[in-house]
Symmetry: C2
Amino acid sequence: DHKQIVLGHGSGGKLTSELIEKIFLPAFSNPILDKLDDQALLNIGDTRLAFTTDSFVVTPIFFPGGDIGRLAVHGTVNDLAMSGARPLYLSAAFILEEGLRVEDLCRVVESMRAAAADSGVHFVTGDTKVVNRGKGDQIFITTTGIGVVEANVNISASRAQPGDCILLSGTIGDHGMAIMSQREGLEFESEIASDCASLHDLVAQMLATPSETTDFLHCLRDPTRGGVATTLNEIAKASHSGMLLHEQSIPVRESVRGACEILGLDPLYVANEGKLLAVVAPEMGEAVLARMRQHPLGRDAAIIGEVVATHPGMVLMKTGIGGTRVLDVMFGEQLPRIC
Amino acid sequence: DHKQIVLGHGSGGKLTSELIEKIFLPAFSNPILDKLDDQALLNIGDTRLAFTTDSFVVTPIFFPGGDIGRLAVHGTVNDLAMSGARPLYLSAAFILEEGLRVEDLCRVVESMRAAAADSGVHFVTGDTKVVNRGKGDQIFITTTGIGVVEANVNISASRAQPGDCILLSGTIGDHGMAIMSQREGLEFESEIASDCASLHDLVAQMLATPSETTDFLHCLRDPTRGGVATTLNEIAKASHSGMLLHEQSIPVRESVRGACEILGLDPLYVANEGKLLAVVAPEMGEAVLARMRQHPLGRDAAIIGEVVATHPGMVLMKTGIGGTRVLDVMFGEQLPRIC
Ligand SMILES: Nc1ncnc2c1ncn2[C@@H]1O[C@H](COP(=O)(O)OP(=O)(O)OP(=O)(O)O)[C@@H](O)[C@H]1O
Ligand SMILES: Nc1ncnc2c1ncn2[C@@H]1O[C@H](COP(=O)(O)OP(=O)(O)OP(=O)(O)O)[C@@H](O)[C@H]1O
Ligand SMILES: [Mg+2]
Ligand SMILES: [Mg+2]
Ligand SMILES: [Mg+2]
Ligand SMILES: [Mg+2]
Ligand SMILES: [Mg+2]
Ligand SMILES: [Mg+2]
């Protein structure tokens, strides 16, 4: 057991979930938190509210395809959207390091403004703190969001059932490799851009797929830290079901694949900031997929596997050469401070 | 104009409000945010929600009377309470520095648990990030809160009117001087403890004061960063009214006064974390005061002045020796990282 916090505790993988399960959950436990969904669902009056928070500590703060501010808006909007919520309001709390260039702050704030406007959400409250030089890193932003979930929508990682289709909304690894390529000064740097985008509209389109099956959209998660492999493990664990993926169906850009090879990373474990995984009733898989492909953020969507009754709690993948590989949750600190 | 962020931008005084007014408000402006109350009031369905966020970056993280975790609970509960809300749910986002002792994290989490239990609120969602050694300072916590405001309650800094009484719930400067005494190793260290406490129950008692005047509680604010003087300036500005205080009526502990003298600080500008300022209809001042004094957190409550029609937007104080002093908002960085 660790006596000190290490970078891996923030990677979104095994160490993060151990920290949450050993330290935070025992202290804070309640039925809402214990679900460990991407957002809390609160019944307030006649309304079902979604409520979620994320701190953003990405470095560098500007990167191809975005910056820390844009990320802070889309990231929180997406954790709301993963409940099927309509995102409404955000708060923004800033921890600024003494010496931060006001010009850089203005650039970040402007991109938050633009991202919020694009996503149809409003910043209604905020906070501003400053820490001494060398006690922060330019800028950290914590955004918290509120949205409203319609009465008939019921999405949770625990709802995956054997037979369900697993859908992915597009190519994987773009966000993480945009940051890593820039950090490492790879030649791919200019080609790979973060996929950072708000997914609530795509989710609304998915929910509106014509259907005789009510309640066909069982689970939604954005595969951020830890990537697709870690997120599917979370769903497998929460639903006590198994997952079987087909490697060849998983979309990866050539440039991302190349950068991953150079850095010895597996795209399945690399963070995304504008992608979702969906678990859908079997008879609705193709219809939801078609609908996703009509949306600009779902053009490369694919069915990547199915939920199975065998190996509950585990994620397996049929590889291109016909083998079967176990995809465990991410371990270690391969991609620190990616969001 | 500053080209770089300085510590004073986080002091809660003039530089902070300039940063908010020049950079954040122009980008994020909307009618809810623009009120600059301690919390946003949101109409969702039939419910009036209060929503507020604060980051905590206090150093040291443990101090007489509390720690950063306790502060993070009471601080956010209080910004909800200042709308008259019943606080319900909190989120907690942690930014941990690599190398933080897990033992210290556990201590902080345990005091958050206890403070939340005392305050009747639940942590329903969270986030955990880790930054490299030397890029953070042990632990930063951002708490965001949601509460419900009854339909007949209408509290806002803009509602102060000439004639209204200004009430203060107890002694000032305890929190800030507990931290400063510890930092400076003053002999008072052991005597001065943070006043850190949740004020929602005191507010509920105040709202329940028997009255024929509906809506007698006009403004509530917790005088945190910048202290009583800065907070009253905010109310004066928002309500376009003047304030006249009576120095001798303002309760200050002897130990706090002594520590302030040694450090050259004015208790009127020192942060509190368990005190409130209230602006109350004139005929209700005494009744509300009596009610406050019955509450453990209001035992030392006092009427400290009144709202006046002269000098709108300004705070004046009749001093002990009969003069009149202008109390401007705090300038500079005299008390960095106090919360
Ligand atoms: N410090 C914490 N205290 C309580 N719950 C936490 C804490 N950190 C995370 N959680 C909970 O653990 C679950 C997973 O959190 P996590 O931050 O990994 O999800 P996410 O926000 O969807 O991912 P990311 O942060 O990579 O965007 C969520 O249910 C969250 O509420
Ligand atoms: N970065 C920001 N963006 C938008 N609004 C902000 C920002 N920082 C502060 N505000 C707003 O400015 C007002 C004052 O904020 P401030 O943090 O001083 O209040 P507080 O939380 O009551 O005090 P403290 O932080 O000392 O506890 C609030 O209405 C808040 O929503
Ligand atoms: Mg997230
Ligand atoms: Mg998520
Ligand atoms: Mg604040
Ligand atoms: Mg506050
Ligand atoms: Mg306040
Ligand atoms: Mg998170």
